[in-house]
């Protein structure tokens, strides 16, 4: 709290970035320990979590006040005009401090309290169990086993404790192989395809330099090859462009020499490194942040950023690797969430949007296969939101070891139960669990024209750009009504049957059982007690004649994507105080 000098500023203007006539809302700005809050004159609230703030900028003073532009990691950009320069300066300084957290313990997740009791908290963390995940894939089995080699994080700090390796890989082989790999990340099982007995393994680059070799590492790959008995060759996919891999040899790293490994085939898939990705996203955001953009500027900016090219490269590579689950692939195996997502004030060179790219690749798949995914776009957006929000413990830290040291499971809450509780919002009403049963693998078409700009991600807060009516809501409610109606029909049919059958039977019984009227006839059927189904979403649509193109009067869409806010925040005497 020592960073906050001004907690409340009145008569602040929030500019509409895309209005042609410089429209704005006037309201009051509040600064709390965790959020920046703007309440406009019609009591609409805009919440900005400090952790979401990527950059704060004070623009030169204008006649109407001091402009303050805030860019967020969830791609929201807000433009305030604060009447007095001193207030603006105070808020600017506070936000600079508050958005840069130096210690994990100061992150929102450690103070966020959703009023769960301890057992709920524990349960939340147990929702996704990696052992279960591997069991689902059919591991352990004849070829693969759980290894305790990394029990104390001695072999590889950034790997989890539990690792699956070929049964034939002995501990000395593991240890030897890990010493030959960058950061000790030796080859371990990532995904196992039960039916085809094929495995995807993952590791870091070998420390081969120009000529070094390592017998244990060669044995390790041999063991993996043997654990895939139905495949003659083992493919080694290097995610880098070949040039990068070659350059790394000068630094004592590099790639496997095919002469030293038997039965392997080598392939570079050309995904650029994190530095290229970071600057690509920066270029993309420059484009989407520009006001009054022409179609030409937009399209050439999009092209220059190279972003969609990278997404295509990622998806091209992933075509081999099929469905990848978030928890397993990105968290336990040490994706450096903290560094890449800039949760703490750290090295800016370590920031990179690889996880955003993953989500975007998934979104591209959902666009091509509208029936293959149980979740929808809102789910992907919400995950992205919380990777940066630091509100839940799931994405904090860089690897399992660091997460354990932080005692995340005791001190913070898991995101999944919250998503689960709202799962209706994230369901795809068109999801078909039997989708292409003959295809256990989706075969996305990675022809260039299939890659589109993800407007709902990069402009998720610029409502005026979005479709004004939601097909999703309508389909969702229609499919719900269908289910309810089908149930009602079943119930009614049963009743009709019963009544028809009963008319004679009951008649006979009536003399004996007058005191006990048939429970069936009198029990009020469930279906009529419930409220009439909601009317089509259209009624909620308020395209008011006289509404500007930039206005967003489509209330349904506002609620649809609304983000989870703190449970209770009370505002007393102008001081915002968290009470939850």
């Amino acid at each position: 709290m020592e960073h906050i000098r001004t907690t409340k500023v009145e008569q602040v203007k929030l500019l509409d970035r895309f209005s042609t006539s410089n429209k704005s809302l006037t309201g009051t700005l509040y600064l709390t320990a965790t959020h920046l809050l703007f309440i406009d004159s019609s009591q609409r609230e805009t919440w900005i979590l400090h952790h979401h703030i990527a950059a704060v900028e004070k623009l030169p003073l204008t006649t109407s006040g001091c402009p303050l532009v805030i860019q967020c990691k969830n791609f929201r950009i807000v433009h305030f005009v604060v009447p007095r320069e001193r207030d603006c300066h105070d808020i600017y300084n506070s936000l600079l401090q508050l958005s840069r957290t130096a210690k994990y313990e100061e992150l929102y997740a450690f103070s966020y309290n959703p009023k769960q009791n301890e057992s709920e908290q524990v349960k939340g963390w147990q929702l996704i169990d990696l052992a279960e995940e591997y069991k689902r894939m059919g591991v352990p089995n004849d070829y693969w086993q759980l290894s305790d080699a990394n029990r104390d994080y001695k072999i590889c700090e950034t790997y989890p404790r539990e690792l699956y390796v070929p049964r034939t890989a002995s501990k000395p082989i593991i240890v030897g192989s890990s010493k030959f790999r960058s950061k000790g990340r030796f080859p371990v099982l990532s995904y196992y395809h039960k039916n085809k007995e094929a495995a995807i393994c993952r590791c870091s680059q070998p420390l081969s330099g120009f000529s070094a070799r390592c017998l244990e590492d060669e044995h390790m790959l041999q063991a993996i090859s043997k654990a895939n008995p139905s495949n003659r060759y083992m493919y080694v996919m290097d995610t880098r462009p070949k040039l990068n891999a070659m350059a790394n040899r000068a630094a004592g790293k590099g790639y496997e020499n095919e002469d030293n490994y038997s039965n392997i085939r080598f392939q570079f898939v050309g995904i650029e490194n994190i530095h290229v990705m970071r600057s690509s996203l920066q270029k993309l955001l420059e484009v989407s942040g520009t006001r009054g953009l022409s179609v030409n500027d937009f399209l050439s900016g999009l092209e220059n950023s190279g972003w969609l090219r990278h997404i295509k490269a990622v998806l091209d590579a992933a075509v081999f690797l099929a469905k990848v689950l978030i928890e397993k692939d990105w968290i336990s195996f040490g994706h450096k969430f903290s560094d890449r997502c800039c949760q703490l004030d750290g090295d800016p060179k370590e920031i990179s949007p690889v996880f955003t790219q993953f989500l975007e690749s998934v979104w591209n798949l959902t666009e091509q296969f509208p029936q293959a995914f149980e979740y929808n776009e809102a789910f992907l957006l919400q995950i992205h939101e919380h990777v940066h929000s630091c509100q839940f413990g799931n994405f904090l830290g860089n690897c399992q070891k660091e997460r354990e040291e932080l005692k995340l499971k005791e001190k913070t809450y898991s995101l999944w139960p919250f998503l689960l509780a709202e799962q209706k919002k994230y369901q795809n009403p068109l999801y078909n669990p039997d989708f292409s049963p003959e295809l256990t693998l989706l075969e996305p078409n990675t022809v260039s024209f299939n890659f589109k700009f993800w407007r709902n991600m990069y402009h998720q807060f610029d409502r005026s750009m979005h479709p004004r009516q939601s097909t999703f809501n309508l389909i969702m409610s229609t499919s719900e009504q269908n289910k309810q109606l089908e149930e009602d029909i079943k119930e009614l049919e049963a009743k009709i049957k019963q009544r028809n059958g009963r008319s004679d039977v009951v008649f006979e019984k009536e003399q004996e059982q007058t005191a006990h009227p048939s429970p069936v006839a009198l029990k009020s059927p469930l279906c009529f007690q419930k409220e009439q189904p909601l009317m089509p979403v259209n009624d909620a649509v308020r395209t008011i004649e006289g509404s500007n193109t930039a206005d967003n009067r489509y209330s349904e869409l506002v609620s649809e994507f609304s983000k989870a806010e703190p449970a209770v925040v009370s505002l007393e005497y102008g001081v915002a105080r968290m009470t939850c």
Partner: protein, 493 residues
């Protein structure tokens, strides 16, 4: 001219057909006066049935004893035919070229096409202007239906009936027509009942270098506005182009002669004003703008029936020169000066609207694609000729079938409906940010992108909506049949 003179080779055995995304087919190729057919051997299935009018460009490549013909179609499909025998290949290519270049309207397929399920006169008078005027006259008495153009003498590209200000007589209108390019005097395009403003369209005034004036034209535009009221003239050209037009006899309305009108060359914010739209000829961008404005403002244009009416009134009868504009498409390398995809632009804009308001249009993408296809090559007479006068000279309405008759048949109609439609009485203001404008993949990638999964998803939506409708009627039937249950309801409430 006889078609047989143009067909040098009518059949070729053992031709190979390549289509994007489909396996190659070998079979017999056949050329008739209007179609290119390919039936596969040995089974004899008809694989291709292509209207030759659909062919935009023919490219031939001969190598050795066989040749390949690439057909670039107006519907953006690309077909390849491998034909044995060099001479045969060249013959086929030149036959297709000749047949696809026939420009006599009466030789076109609609004059020969006779589907058994339709009658010739069906659908031709489905959207009379009289009915449109009837609705208008219940809202205002400022306008009247004029037959000044009944013999096409005032304006050859206008229909016989038009709507003009009630306060001016036909004499005045006829004189004003002489002051407008092509005789296209200002007529009513749309009346907005909520605030009483009107949308008019015309062509440019023929002011020329000498700043000619025309009292009747000034009078016509003057009576539309009340005392002190101001209207806008939206010139679809740039200010520069409008100025230059004076050199060739055209021009703009000078402020001094039209004091109540303000001229603009750009878009403007919402103002409750009467607007006159024109560019130069008033048959292209003008119609594009007026038709789209109506789709945005008027919910009745957003139904399947209403949209057809809008097309009939604002494109076909309003004299968009379909024949000239759609004679060739983008693949043709000839020097066409009249060809232009104005109607495609309109369809794309409508599609953009349908993306932003997916529940507000009663028709779906399929209708837009069908209109696109038929504007360029059709079995129906609806898009033939450049205006009503030509249609009447060619007896299009007597000798061809109407597209509307065909697609309003119950078994056809359902294909064009949007299952999610529900009437939206409000104005649909679209977002025009670059990020909101999308590539119309359904049109431009129609033949090259695999659409199976998207089609299945669309069918699933259809199934869900139909399922709901049939379940709710079944449920209410069930409720009626189960009075005991109904009694239970009352007890339960």
């Amino acid at each position: 001219m006889e078609f047989s003179e143009l067909i040098k080779t009518a059949t070729v055995e053992n031709a190979l057909l390549w289509r994007p995304g489909l396996p190659a087919v070998r079979g017999t190729l056949c050329i008739t006066s209007h179609h290119l057919l390919l039936s596969s051997r040995p089974r004899g299935d008809l694989e291709l049935w292509l209207l030759i009018r659909n062919v935009d460009a023919v490219e031939k490549r001969v190598c050795g004893s066989s040749g390949t013909i690439t057909l670039r179609c107006k519907d953006l499909r690309v077909l390849q035919l491998e034909i044995p025998g060099m001479e045969q290949c060249l013959n086929i290519a030149s036959s297709i070229e000749a047949l696809s270049s026939v420009d006599s309207v009466m030789m076109m397929y609609p004059f020969f096409y006779r589907p058994p399920s339709l009658r010739l006169e069906q659908g031709w008078h489905r959207f009379p202007l009289e009915r449109f005027f009837q609705r208008l006259s219940s809202q205002t008495s400022q306008w009247r239906l004029s037959t000044v153009n009944r013999d096409f003498s005032a304006c050859p590209s206008y229909p016989p009936a038009v709507i003009v200000p009630a306060a001016v007589g036909d004499d005045t209108v006829a004189k004003a027509a002489r002051f407008r390019q092509g005789g296209r005097f200002p007529v009513l395009s749309y009346f907005h009942p909520k605030n009483g403003t009107a949308l008019l369209r015309s062509s440019q005034p023929l002011t020329g270098r000498n700043r000619r004036r025309c009292r009747e034209d000034e009078q016509l535009l003057g009576t539309i506005l009340d005392q002190g009221e101001q209207g806008f003239i939206i010139d679809t050209r740039s200010a520069q182009a409008a100025k230059q037009a004076r050199m060739s006899g055209g021009g703009t309305e000078p402020k001094s002669s039209y004091p109540q009108w303000r001229r603009l060359h750009r878009a403007l914010e919402r103002e409750e004003r009467t607007v006159l739209v024109h560019g130069a000829e008033g048959t292209d961008a003008t119609l594009l703008v007026t038709a789209l404005a109506q789709l945005i403002l008027d919910p009745s244009c957003r139904s399947l029936e209403g949209f057809q009416g809008l097309l009939e009134r604002e494109w076909i009868e309003a004299g968009h020169p379909f024949q000239l504009r759609c004679a060739r498409s983008a693949s043709w390398h000839g020097r066409g000066k009249q060809e232009a995809p104005l109607f495609v632009l309109f369809l794309d804009c409508v599609w953009q609207l349908s993306r932003q308001f997916p529940l507000s249009l009663e028709f779906g993408e399929r209708l837009l694609l069908t209109l696109f296809d038929n504007a360029y090559a059709s079995a129906y007479g609806t898009f033939l000729c450049n205006n009503e006068r030509e249609r009447s000279l060619c007896k299009v309405k007597e000798s061809t079938h109407s597209l509307w008759a065909w697609l309003n048949q119950p078994e056809e109609k359902h294909k064009y409906l949007n299952p999610l439609y529900s009437h939206n009485p409000l104005v649909i203001w679209p977002s025009v940010e670059p990020q909101s404008i999308q590539l119309w993949q359904g049109l431009f990638l129609r033949w090259i992108r695999p659409s199976q999964h998207l089609d299945e998803a669309r069918e699933e939506i259809q199934r869900l909506v139909q399922g709901k409708n049939s379940s709710s009627s079944k449920e209410s039937r069930g409720r009626r049949q189960s009075p005991a249950a109904a009694a239970g309801t009352e007890g339960g409430r």
